[in-house]
Symmetry: C2
Subunit: 74 residues, 2 copies
């Protein structure tokens, strides 16, 4: 693979979170995921699993597919 999925996902999550005007704390609170885990995902350090990708999508009110809609690949 010519790209780093974890880094791209982290960047995308920051983008979607900020579009809602949320802090990491707020996203953690709303999603039920630990704040430190959210921080690790956003830094590209967590190989997040499908279920939590969909939890974040539902929390942010976006489709699961848009969580993996990486600009760099289009």
């Amino acid at each position: 693979m010519q790209y780093d999925p974890l880094a791209l996902f982290g960047k995308r999550l920051v983008e979607l979170r900020k579009a809602r005007g949320w802090s990491q704390e707020r996203l953690a609170l709303e999603s039920g995921l630990a704040r430190s885990y959210v921080g690790g995902i956003e830094r590209g350090q967590r190989n997040i699993a499908l279920y939590n990708i969909c939890v974040l999508a539902a929390t942010l009110g976006v489709s699961p597919a848009s969580m993996l809609d990486f600009d760099e690949l289009t």
Copy 2:
């Protein structure tokens, strides 16, 4: 969440694999993932992580986002 992400992902993977005319064995061979793991994913029994989602996307020649493009949610 009103849906089962693992079941939907499994169904989507079967769809994409069959669109290429591949068996589970062929997808396992091409992706480097174990055949039993591919079978478990397709049965909705594996909470596959981001990196392997992107490995499967690259192997199938589709975007990561399309792996999570669940008809049931549109």
